[in-house]
């Protein structure tokens, strides 16, 4: 390679490396602002400010959804399996909202540590499968737990 070209190439590579470091440091410093939402464990640890509009994200805890029969009010627990935060919301939920599904809620944390949401978005994961497969998987996991329960019981 021609020496001038070699020199140009090294200059470019150095500049790119410097730029990468600068951007990496900036995004690292801003990481809390880039994060779309707070985890339930961050909220219960008091890392999230109260009375400011924030987002909270996590899984809707199984069996925690309580729907008000007279209005659109819903209450549920959002969990990341180590901590959970109670959420209340009045409005129409997205189609994908269900127990055990991921959500991101926007709203304020009140003084009692309850999250009052004004918008609830559904979050889904990267797994796709036909309905039959998911039914079969569910059945299999149920059978497994049943089998486990059976094996604990003394044989009759």
């Amino acid at each position: 390679m021609h020496p001038i070209r070699k020199k140009r190439l090294t200059i470019i590579l150095f500049l790119l490396a410097g730029l990468t470091v600068a951007v990496a440091l900036t995004t690292y410093a801003l990481r809390q602002n880039i994060n779309l939402f707070y985890d339930p464990s961050q909220i219960s640890a008091g890392e999230a400010p109260s009375d400011v509009r924030i987002r909270a994200g996590g899984m809707v805890k199984e069996g925690s959804v309580v729907r008000d029969p007279d209005s659109l009010k819903v209450e549920f627990l959002v969990t990341d399996y180590s901590a959970s935060v109670p959420v209340e919301y009045v409005g129409i939920l997205p189609d994908l909202f269900a127990e055990g599904q991921g959500i991101v809620a926007m709203g304020r944390l009140n003084n009692e540590g309850r999250f009052v949401a004004d918008q609830v978005l559904a979050k889904h994961d990267e797994n796709y499968m036909p309905p039959e497969v998911s039914d079969a998987l569910e059945k299999a996991s149920k059978n497994q737990s049943k089998a486990a329960a059976d094996s604990i019981k003394p044989a009759t």
């Binding site: 070209r5 990481r31 880039i34 994060n35 779309l36 189609d95 990267e126 497969v133 998911s134 039914d135």
Partner: protein, 247 residues
């Protein structure tokens, strides 16, 4: 080895070789893309959670994938422009930037239309969506800068620098879903793992990605040829080529 490299930089050589490949790229690309889209629309099973709205994935993923890989190709060409001052590399950047712009727009548009029924919103400022919007502006900036500078050589250098500065955005797009909390889900396809969808879903997706790649190849060739013709019209080989085609 350097000789082959420099031969690659000859517009005349490129014009000849690309003319031979282009029909195959066009026919193969359109067929694969249509096959993937029709398979995905009508024959792939629906998703257990999202139902039929997930069928947008068969065009959303190819558009987003190409939008990013075109930018990486442009960045490689930009290095060649700056180090070797090769005309063809600069022509490539100029020719494909509008294609990248359109595909980035398509990725954002199909993503927004997909987000409405699944997430419940058209748009959210999460890291993945925002970094993709920055990519759109980068493409726009490259096109605008190239138009703003009339001198070909200085335009080539300025554009190459801008492209290289913007390349840091690519890993941010790719890893945004892992580094930060986002509404956008992580990648379904990873190089090291099996895709997290069954074959009757990922095969059509692979077909449409390949098809769009080939269509992009054709677009890149024909747009570069246009660029070559208008820049090299004073050379004898272009004159012979044009006058021969007429008869």
């Amino acid at each position: 080895m350097w000789q082959i490299f420099h031969k690659l930089g000859s517009p005349k050589w490129f014009f000849g070789i690309s003319t031979r490949f282009m029909p195959w790229l066009l026919v193969g690309g359109v067929l694969l893309l249509l096959a993937g889209a029709i398979w995905g629309l009508a024959f792939a099973p629906k998703d257990y959670l999202q139902g039929n709205s997930y069928r947008i994935i068969f065009i959303h993923v190819p558009a987003a994938f190409l939008a990013q890989s075109i930018y990486i190709m442009m960045a490689s060409a930009a290095i060649v422009t700056l180090v070797w001052r090769m005309k063809l590399a600069d022509m490539f950047v100029k020719a494909v930037a509008p294609v990248g712009l359109v595909l980035t727009f398509l990725a954002l548009f199909t993503g927004a239309v997909w987000g409405k029924p699944t997430w419940g919103t058209w748009w959210i400022w999460d890291a993945r969506l925002t970094s993709m919007l920055i990519l759109l502006f980068l493409y726009g900036g490259v096109i605008a800068l190239d138009r703003a500078i009339t001198d070909d050589k200085s335009a080539a250098r300025a554009v190459a620098v801008l492209v290289l500065v913007g390349v840091v955005n690519i890993p941010i797009i790719k890893y945004s879903v892992e580094w930060w909390n986002t509404l956008h889900q992580p990648a379904t396809f990873k190089l090291t793992e099996k895709p997290s969808m069954p074959a009757e879903m990922w095969v059509p997706l692979l077909l449409s990605v390949l098809g769009l790649y080939l269509v992009f190849g054709w677009l890149a060739c024909i747009r570069m040829q246009t660029e070559i013709l208008s820049r090299e019209q004073r050379t004898r080989w272009v004159k012979e080529l044009v006058m021969k085609g007429k008869s």
